[in-house]
Structures are given as C-alpha cells and as structure tokens.
C-alpha cells in the first residue's frame, strides 16, 4: 500500500531524514516513535508533499507521491492529520466536515458526512458550533472526522493525543481502534506509547532522522537499550 524506500528529505537545504524505509500494508497499524526532533513529523510531511524530498521514493498503491502536490495526494485516498493547525477555527464543525469532503464529489458529501458521524457519533452534538469554541479533545475528534471525510484508505496521525486530558486520550484511542476495525490503515506518530502500541502491528523507531529499529511492538518493548526513547518502565 504505502512504501517508502531510501528516503532522504528535509526543508530547503536542511536534511532531516536519512535513508528511511517504511511500509504500511492494507489494514495495518504502524507506529513511528522517537525522541522530539528526530524527524517523525518531517517523515509524514514528506509523504504528503509538505517537505522536500532529496532522493528516494514514496509510493502509495503504486502511485509515486514524490511529484504530487498535497491537494492531489488526497485524491489517492491518503489522509493526514497534522499535530497542529488541523481544523478551521473560523468555520463551524459542519463546515469543517464539508471542507474535508472537497476532494469527493459534491453530491456524495452529505452521505459521507452521515457515514463519518455514525463512525464518530461524539462529533454530532456540536455540528452547528464554531470550531474555535471546542475543547482540546473535541478539536482532535473533529480533526479526525475532517480527515475521514475524504474516504481515506490510509490515515497518518501525527500525535493525535498530544496535550489532551486522560479522558480525552481514551476517547481518541477508542476512535483510532474503531478506524482499525473499519479496515483503515494507520500510520501513527505518538508519544503516548502505552495505549498506541497495543493497537500497532509494527513499529519504527526513528532517531536523528534514521531508522534504528523496525519490528513488532513486543520486540520493541523487549529492547532495554531503547527504553530511553520510549519513556516506558
């Protein structure tokens, strides 16, 4: 489904990623972990055309994404939930969802909105509210719903629980679990490993822009030498 080979990427002249390989198959949940500043977000940005790719390949369902602008990448049914700036604050929640559906046919938007709301019923009560009035947890849920509007086969989530209260984190993890059940592939960059690793099929550890570990979460947890990066006891 998504395959990254020998990716070297960064911003302008500054290289952040070095020879990264990553794969996410249909229905898989892949976690990307690593310390702050290790290049996790840059990895997602380079997949989505928001960072400069110096060399290497990024393909999704056999389509090369390297030369596609972001708005066309959405059309390949790849979704991206950014850590910050992931909702339109001046728009209502309903308008946010409509914005999420700009890449699908106009007549299908209403139907898709119904599907997304049945998948995430927690969003329904605040449809008419302005997005800026939502709480942190509600904003994250809206951001996920917004991404789902484009019918993605694979969603990349950049720290979806960052800065949230424990109860909101639970709700997000529950939602992510539902997405997995729906057969949507997920690539999750997350600091909150305890909950996310349970859902994960494979993990990648990125340190200083390089892959330092690839394997199952169980194997990752067995590696005592990597614990300093995981924050787990």
């Amino acid at each position: 489904m998504l395959r990254i080979s020998n990716l070297n990427a960064g911003y302008g002249n500054a290289q952040v990623l070095y020879d990264i390989d990553l794969e996410c198959k249909l229905g898989e949940v892949v976690t990307v972990i690593g310390p702050n500043g290790s290049g996790k977000t840059t990895l997602l940005n380079s997949i989505f055309g928001l960072a400069d790719i110096f060399s290497g390949t990024v393909t999704f369902d056999g389509i090369s994404l390297s030369d596609l602008p972001s708005h066309k990448i959405v059309g390949t049914r790849l979704g991206y939930l950014r850590q910050e700036g992931n909702i339109f604050e001046t728009l209502s929640v309903e308008e946010n969802l409509k914005m999420g559906g700009v890449s699908i046919k106009k007549k299908e938007v209403k139907k898709r909105m119904g599907e997304v709301l049945s998948l995430m019923p927690v969003v329904k009560p605040f449809l008419s509210r302005k997005a800026s009035t939502l709480s942190g947890g509600e904003r994250h849920l809206l951001a996920i719903a917004l991404v789902l509007m484009s019918r993605p086969k694979l969603v990349m989530l950049d720290e979806p629980t960052a800065g949230l209260a424990p109860i909101a984190i639970k709700q997000i993890i529950k939602t992510v679990d539902r997405l997995k059940d729906e057969g949507i592939s997920l690539i999750i960059v997350e600091q909150n490993l305890k909950d996310v690793l349970k859902l994960s099929d494979r993990s990648y550890l990125v340190v200083s822009g390089r892959n330092t570990f690839v394997g199952s979460p169980d194997k990752l947890l067995e590696r005592s030498d990597l614990k300093m990066y995981l924050g787990l006891d």
Binding site: F48, L50, P69, S70, H71, V74, G75, Y80, R82, G85, N86, I87, F88, E89, T90, L91, E95, K98, M99, G100, V102, S103, K106, L146, V147, M149, S150
Partner: protein, 306 residues
C-alpha cells in the same frame, strides 16, 4: 446638502469596490497590491474606448470593464505573484509597484495613440454628458450603489453557500490545511486575483461618469484605497465596505463643511481627511473597524455602567 449626500454615496461606492479587491488579495495571498491603481485606470479606458468607437451608454460596458480587469488581475498573479510566492511580502509589494508602473505606462501610450490617431480626447476626459437622470439626479449614484449592493450580496452568498466560497474561507484561514484536505490553493489564489482585478476594473469603468479621468486616475486614488482597506480592517473580508463608506463620507462631507467655514482653499487639501483617519486608525485600532470585538466592548461598558 442633498447633492453632497449623493456625491458621498457615489464616491463611497467606488471606494468600497476598489478597497474590496485590495483587501481580498491581502487576505488570501498576503500581498498589498499597488497595481490595483493600474487596474482601476484600465476600467476607465475600457469605458472611454467603447463609448468612443461603439457608442451608447457607458453602463453597457461595465461588464467588459470587469472582465478585462479580471483578466489583467489573472496575468499579474501568474506572471508576477505566483513565481515569487516564497518571497517576502516586501518583495511582493515591490513587484506590484513595478507591475503598476508598467500598466500606467501602457495606458499612457494607449491614451496617446487614441488622441493622436483617432483624435479622441483621452488624456483627460469626463463622460457625465452621457449619463441619464433618475429622480432628477445623475443615474451614476443609483447605479453605483445598486452595483455595490448586488456585488456585496452576491459575494456573501458565494462565500456562505458555495463549495468554492467555503474553500476560499478555509484557504484564507489556513492555506496549508486547505491543501492537505484537497483544496487547490493556487487556483483559489488565482481566483481571488481575478475577482480583485474585476472589481477594480468595474469601479474604474464607473469613474469617467463622476471624475475627470486620465491615465493616472487609479494612482491618484491608491492612497484612498489603502485607507479604505486598513480602516475597514484586512482581517475581515467585508471590512472595505465599511471602510469605503466611512472614508467617502468623511472626505466629501469634511471638505464641504470646512470649505464653507474656512474658505474654498480647503478643497485643495481634501485628501488629508482620510489620511488623518488612517493615522488615527493605525494608532488606536490597527486591526481596523471590522477587527474590533464590539460585543466585548459593549460587555465592558455595561460592566462599568453597572
């Protein structure tokens, strides 16, 4: 008094149309477009050319003034702004100044050509003789206000109820997120420059029915356009409609009032009134009138009162 009021309404309508384009491209692409001046002049010359060669009412050619202004706006975006999209706002401002000088030069050459080859008085012209009357007043007042009203309502409906309008609102707030959800941000930027050019061309098309026009007419008005945009507030797309009316009324009524009190010499300095307002705005409400949280102000006043 009535004549002054009608003049103020007419002038305010022009200013609102011109300021709208300036605010729109500032909101979308972050550029202060000085070439808005040249686009206004183009509108005036579209009207003059068609009235001279085809004849009929100048109002018939307003749609064409809009379309030509829109076309030049598109060229400006594609040739000067889009290639420099990663440049600083100062560089982009300089690019629009350069483009404006080119436009004004071309219009001057064109005016010379009209005058020398066809004998049309094109270096300084006024078409008020071609206007008709509505309720005993020149039609320009009614038609310019109606056009502004239709334009404003149409733009509101477009933003509120169309998919492209929604995308434009999203794009204004967060262009990078708009791209991530599938909006072609570049196309919307182009669209906003087309609309801005069109509104400038339209306003310019009206001008010969109200002002003595020449190739630099847009340039004479550019300071007022900036005043309208800043006073109205660039943070809100409807700001220039508010700004346009305030600047127009202050200029016309302020000049009339002071000229009758201090003498007609004041008329020479009429451009100072809106500039004083601009300075006061920048000092005390830099976000412009539409950027003020009026509800919060009322709450504070009530609290003080209670």
């Amino acid at each position: 008094m009535m004549a002054t009021l009608v003049d103020a309404i007419t002038f305010s309508s022009f200013l609102s149309m011109m300021g709208f384009g300036l605010t729109l491209v500032r909101r979308t692409t972050g550029v202060w477009n000085v070439a808005q001046a040249g686009l206004v002049s183009i509108g005036a010359y579209v009207t003059l050319t068609l009235v001279s060669f085809v004849g009929g009412s100048p109002y018939l050619y307003l749609p064409l003034a809009f379309l030509i202004g829109a076309g030049v706006g598109a060229i400006l975006f594609l040739v000067a702004i889009n290639p420099l999209r990663k440049a600083s706002s100062i560089i982009l401002l300089v690019a629009t100044i350069a483009f404006n000088l080119i436009l004004i030069s071309i219009i001057n050459i064109y005016a010379d050509y009209l005058q020398n080859v066809f004998g049309i008085l094109s270096k300084s012209f006024l078409l008020t003789r071609l206007d008709f009357k509505i309720f005993g007043r020149p039609a320009i007042s009614t038609i310019s206000v109606s056009t502004l009203l239709i334009f404003t309502i149409a733009f509101y409906l477009f933003l509120r109820y169309t998919r492209t309008g929604l995308a434009l609102r999203g794009c204004i707030e967060q262009p990078s997120l708009a791209g991530v959800v599938g909006v072609s941000v570049r196309s919307l930027y182009l669209f906003s420059w087309v609309l801005a050019g069109g509104s400038a061309g339209l306003a310019g098309g009206f001008l010969p029915l109200f002002f003595q026009c020449n190739p630099n007419i847009g340039f004479y008005l550019i300071a007022l356009m900036f005043c309208v945009s800043i006073l109205g507030g660039v943070g809100e797309i409807y700001g220039p409609f508010l700004g346009g009316w305030l600047v127009g009324f202050v200029q016309i009524f302020g000049t009339t009032l002071l000229a009758s009190t201090l003498g007609p010499w004041v008329i020479l300095y009429k451009g100072l009134f809106p500039m004083v307002i601009l300075v006061l705005t920048l000092l005390f409400v830099p976000q412009g009138l539409s950027g003020i949280d009026w509800r919060a102000k009322v709450r504070i006043l009530k609290r003080k009162g209670g």
